[in-house]
Amino acid sequence: MALLEVMNLRYGYEKNKNILKGISAEFEARKFYAILGPSGCGKSTLLSLIGGLEQPNAGKILYKGKQISELGLQNHRKQNVAFVFQNFNLLEYMTAEENVALVSELPPLPILKKMGLTQEEAKRNVKKLSGGQQQRVAIARALASERQLLLADEPTGNLDEEMAQEIIEILKESAYVHGKCVIVVTHSLELAGQADVVLTLKGGKLL
């Protein structure tokens, strides 16, 4: 059974003006998905709907066979979804450890070390970390939450090539080793090329 299923999703910010015009897809655990498309095609919007940040105008989103609207979007986000963003989106007044502690009661240091941060860097305020380090903290936070769905919106957008590739490897490891369903939104063909499944979005529909 698919971990996540979207059925005939429609969504638009304005009435009678849908960005998504009937999206249907299935997503499984232990797989790395890429959603590819030009800017403004609705990739991030689709990710937001999957992540329970918004209700679709029409269609269904099923997680383990149950509609997420029945569970409640806030509960769906809390129990099932971990986000990674292009801008890292860490709380700037907290340290790396404290950002990870936002989602997990477990000690954050082991997972930060796994992400390649030292103990000293883990105790540093996130503003004093490099872009790559911050993205690692974001991924550590996502992994620490133990939620099965990992959604990443342009996770390598602000990173150089070398750092970007490191992040992609970590995301792939999340899928293959940690058993997560990793869905990455990107406009990078190179990143998309490393995914198990590539979904191309154009004109509000999947090609």
């Binding site: 940040l53 809390k78 989106n89």
Partner: protein
């Protein structure tokens, strides 16, 4: 990590903003505690004045339409009041009314008496109006303590006691006249009452008063010299001139000037008042003259408190709006991590209330320490020694400051977070990327 911990970390790491919030909350707290303290203290001052100042009711004959048809003479027509007068029976009934503490009727030159066994200070018009020389006007009172010159403080009792309503054949003499005649409290004086009485009455000196001026040059009549004026009860004049025991006016003193209306109604309901041609009027002017400024201050302060609270909410809302809008990214992140809007609202509330508590404590300590100085400033501003104002800063006022200040913050934070969180999450999110 729960919202308390997040709030704590934010507070200790965003010192500048929290210092600004601390200062703003301190100003609001000072305003709240001082305004409610002054309000409470001025109410207490009003109550103290109420205890020191009595209200008055004036009972008088109603002259309107109560004169007879008139009697003609070579000098023209003369009219005599033919309505009801104030009787002793009515006075006795009034004295028993709840709230009445005293009463007095005063008639200057009630009757005339020439000195028989003592001497008045002489005036220009001396001579033989009576076998005992000139007669001076006697002021009759029911209660000398409440007579005009004693009430106003011109005269003060120096020895003995005041004349009371149930006294008979007693007198109050000025100290200079008593000294002139070597008289003291307890001595008896004799007065000759001219025709038609043509009799001598004996009065006991029960009190000696000071404040009256003695002999002066170029004074025409005996009773133009203040010290010559004796106070006595009504009985000598009424008995010797066969006058009924009735009065034209009565001043009634009420214990609680605030409830003077109730006493007025009770007197008007007396059976002895029904159908009488008498009128009763309230005279609270002395009390109101003192208390009105305090009452006005209380009204102004109440308005200030309401306006101050509204302005505080507006100011805090504007400031917090700027600060919390700058945290949209944080809100979006926390929502994305699975926190509810209530949870995030709780964090913001904890942050501001945490800072506010420090402000309340600091202000409480400061205002308590400076209570004396603040009291002196306010007393100087009032400038009226009859009002005993004392600034009270108690736990009740502190509690009001904390509760009102907290409510202001809750309202301000609620308005701001609602205005931000009502946006669609997708919109909120897209604005942060």
């Amino acid at each position: 990590m729960n919202f308390f911990k997040r709030a704590f970390k934010y507070c200790i790491r965003q010192r500048t903003k929290n210092m600004i919030l601390f200062c703003i909350m301190s100003v609001i707290a000072i305003f709240l505690i001082l305004s409610v303290s002054i309000l409470t203290s001025s109410k207490n001052a009003s109550l103290n004045v109420k205890g020191d100042v009595t209200g008055k009711l004036q009972l008088t004959i109603d002259e309107t339409g109560n004169y007879g048809s008139g009697t003609g003479s070579q000098n023209g027509m003369s009219y005599i009041y033919n309505g009801d007068k104030i009787t002793s029976k009515l006075i006795e009934a009034i004295s028993k009314v709840e709230g009445v503490v005293d009463y007095n009727s005063e008639t200057k030159e009630c009757y005339y008496g020439a000195a028989v066994n003592f001497k008045y200070f002489s005036a220009s018009f001396g001579g033989g109006f009576t076998p005992y020389g000139d007669a001076s006007g006697i002021t009759c009172v029911l209660s000398s303590k409440k007579s005009e010159k004693f009430e106003s403080g011109v005269y003060k009792l120096k020895a003995g006691r005041h004349i009371q309503p149930d006294d008979q054949y007693v007198a109050l003499m000025s100290d200079v006249l008593a000294e002139y005649n070597n008289l003291k409290v307890g001595d008896k004086i004799k007065l000759y009452l001219p025709s038609p009485a043509d009799s001598i009455v004996e009065l006991e000196i029960v009190g000696i008063y000071e404040g009256a001026e003695g002999a002066q040059s170029e004074t025409m009549f005996l009773d133009d010299i203040d010290a010559n004026v004796l106070y006595s009860d009504f009985n000598p004049g009424n008995d010797e001139y066969d006058e009924p025991d009735e009065y034209l006016d009565l001043t009634i003193y009420v214990e609680d000037p605030v409830n003077i209306r109730n006493v007025y109604n009770r007197i008007m309901d007396l059976p002895e008042m029904q159908g009488k041609t008498l009128k009763l009027e309230m005279d609270n002017s002395e009390y109101e003259q003192i208390v009105n400024p305090l009452t006005q201050v209380q009204k102004v302060i109440k308005i200030l408190i309401i306006v101050g609270i509204i302005v505080s909410i507006i100011v805090l809302t504007l400031i917090l709006n700027i600060w919390i809008r700058n945290r949209k990214q944080e809100i979006a992140i926390l929502i994305a991590l699975g926190n509810s809007k209530k949870n995030i609202f709780g964090q913001f509330l904890c942050e501001v209330l945490g800072v506010a508590m420090f402000a309340f404590v600091a202000v409480g300590v400061l205002v308590t320490a400076l209570r004396g100085v603040l009291n002196d400033i306010i007393v100087r501003l009032i400038g009226d020694e009859t009002i005993s104002f004392s600034l009270q800063i108690s736990s009740v006022q502190m509690l009001f400051m904390c509760i009102a200040g907290s409510v202001i913050l809750v309202i301000a934070v609620s308005i701001v977070t609602y205005s931000i969180m009502r946006h669609k999450l997708v919109e909120l999110f897209s604005k942060t990327d």
